[in-house]
């Protein structure tokens, strides 16, 4: 216990006795983590809008004219049994005509002897399965059902939205890796320089029988402290800013508290790793 207190005291001493070095380390880590936080929030917001849009996707399955009305319920039931289907709604020729009327404001088919609009089934999906690849597979399965004439959904739009989401995700991953790498390198250098500045003291500790781990532990604590405090400070600034800033109709999506907690723990782990490597290089 007393040894731990001694090491904590040493770590605190390291920070207090070199305030400028401590502030510069803190600020550089703070900026890196803040940048990561902003990219993360941007991705979550984009992802939220994508999910919201994809939730409205439905599929219209046009029924073959040769299929008698009496058997459309069989097709409808077959669709309902397929995985991922939430609802199936039958649209008769008359319903289709009424929808067209509502859409256009007048009956465009007034001169026709017979209603030429096809019958269809409108399928909505369970959201957790929705993506373009799944919909492609679903479409192939539906095509095999008897009585299906044509299938329509916003395939191109979905592909584009999905590609956009993937690109944003990859950018976050790349930036995240770069930022964490930069944080780690920053800490390696900070700890190495800090140990260099106290080289005489470390030498004496070693001569008095202190092991490498004992000598390095205050610097590991220093690394964890800088990383965690910088990460927490970044989120505090963002949360404080969110109280005063608004972006019109755009709803900003923030990570949950538990995600932020994991992020800060991750920053601490980066701090520990960076300090460990830094101390290994110095000793």
């Amino acid at each position: 216990m007393s040894r731990l207190l001694f090491l904590i005291g040493k770590a605190a001493g390291n920070i207090v006795t070199r305030p400028l070095a401590a502030i510069s380390s803190f600020l550089s880590l703070f900026l890196l983590f803040l940048l990561f936080d902003l990219v993360w929030i941007g991705t979550l917001t984009a992802s939220h809008y994508y999910d919201q849009m994809i939730a409205n996707i439905d599929m219209e399955i046009f029924i073959d004219d040769r299929l008698p009305d009496s058997t459309t319920s069989v097709l409808s039931a077959a669709l309902r049994r397929l995985d991922g289907v939430a609802t199936v709604e039958y649209v008769s020729r008359d319903d289709a005509r009424a929808r067209l009327y509502n859409l256009m404001g007048s009956d465009l088919l007034e001169g026709f002897d017979e209603n030429p609009l096809p019958r269809s089934l409108i399928v909505t999906f369970k959201q957790e399965l929705l993506n373009s690849m799944w919909l492609e597979r679903f479409t192939n399965n539906v095509k095999r059902l008897q009585g299906v004439a044509e299938i329509f959904y916003a395939r191109d739009w979905l592909n584009k939205a999905q590609t956009g989401k993937m690109i944003v995700g990859r950018v976050l991953l790349f930036l995240g890796l770069v930022i964490f790498l930069a944080s780690g390198l920053n800490l390696i250098q900070t700890v190495r320089l800090s140990m260099r500045a106290r080289w005489a003291e470390l030498m004496q500790l070693n001569l008095l029988g202190a092991g490498r781990r004992f000598c390095a532990l205050p610097y590991w604590l220093e690394g964890v402290f800088f990383a965690v405090v910088s990460a927490v400070a970044g989120w505090c600034i963002i949360m404080y800013g969110s109280l005063y800033l608004s972006y019109g109709d755009i709803i900003i999506t923030y990570p949950s508290l538990i995600q932020i907690l994991y992020f800060c723990l991750g920053a601490g782990a980066v701090g520990l790793l960076g300090a460990y490597v830094g101390s290994r290089r110095a000793l």
């Binding site: 007393s2 004496q204 500790l205 001569l207 008095l208």
Partner: protein, 222 residues
């Protein structure tokens, strides 16, 4: 009182410097608790190298360095650290940390050993009283005189009941009053059973009981 035991044994130790020049040839020395070895030699005769051998900072070309009954194995970091915890160093490669206080410097050996804070406080008070530095407890090392620094190092060298003291040029550049005070403390430590190796360029006035004087000449102790 520390019980009588073999503290240091140098058995046929030979050592060369980086250039391959022989520093020691077939060096032999045995020191038990309560005994003091005075190693006398001019600058460059190998006193610092001998000190480095004794704390496991250098490996002999041949022969064995045995401390507290254990043959020094430089590859065994844990063993070296354990042995170093039982050695008090004054001067030479041993120094104090100038930015810290007297108390901070003194408790290092106890902190490394993991002693409880209450034990550290009690020991600190006891040692500060012994070396007459109680009033300088919170003083920065950089504000002390050379004599006071030597006393702090001496205090650090015995605070954790280290059985062996390595002392390099203790009387160098000391005023007579400070030198007498230091000699008085060394005498008391010797009587208390501490083994001491004192490295010096001249015979000096180490005329307390149990002193064995050795001259380093041509890489041998005579």
């Amino acid at each position: 009182m520390i019980s009588k035991e073999k503290i240091v044994e140098l058995v046929a130790v030979s050592l060369s410097n980086e250039a391959g020049l022989r520093i020691f040839e077939n060096l032999n020395l045995t020191l038990c608790s309560g005994e003091t070895a005075l190693i006398i030699g001019p600058t460059g005769s190998g006193k610092t190298s001998l000190m480095e051998l004794l704390i496991g900072a250098r490996k002999p070309d041949s022969g064995e360095v045995i401390l507290f009954g254990k043959v020094l194995n430089l590859k065994n970091e844990r063993q070296i650290n354990e042995i170093r915890r039982r050695i008090g160093g004054v001067g030479g490669i041993f120094d104090l940390v100038p930015g810290l206080t007297v108390a901070d410097n003194l408790v290092y050996p106890l902190s490394i050993r993991g002693d409880a804070l209450s034990v550290q406080r009690a020991k600190l008070k006891q040692i500060l009283t012994q070396v007459n530095l109680l009033s300088k407890k919170r003083e920065k090392i950089s504000n002390l005189t050379r004599g006071e620094r030597l006393l702090v190092m001496l205090g650090r060298g015995v605070i954790a009941d280290q059985p062996l003291l390595l002392i390099d040029e203790p009387l160098d550049r000391l005023e007579s009053a400070a030198a007498n005070e230091l000699l008085g403390i060394l005498k008391r430590l010797s009587v208390a059973g501490h083994a001491m190796i004192i490295f010096t360029t001249g015979q000096g006035s180490f005329d307390f009981p149990g002193v064995m004087a050795f001259h380093i000449k041509d890489g041998r102790l005579q």
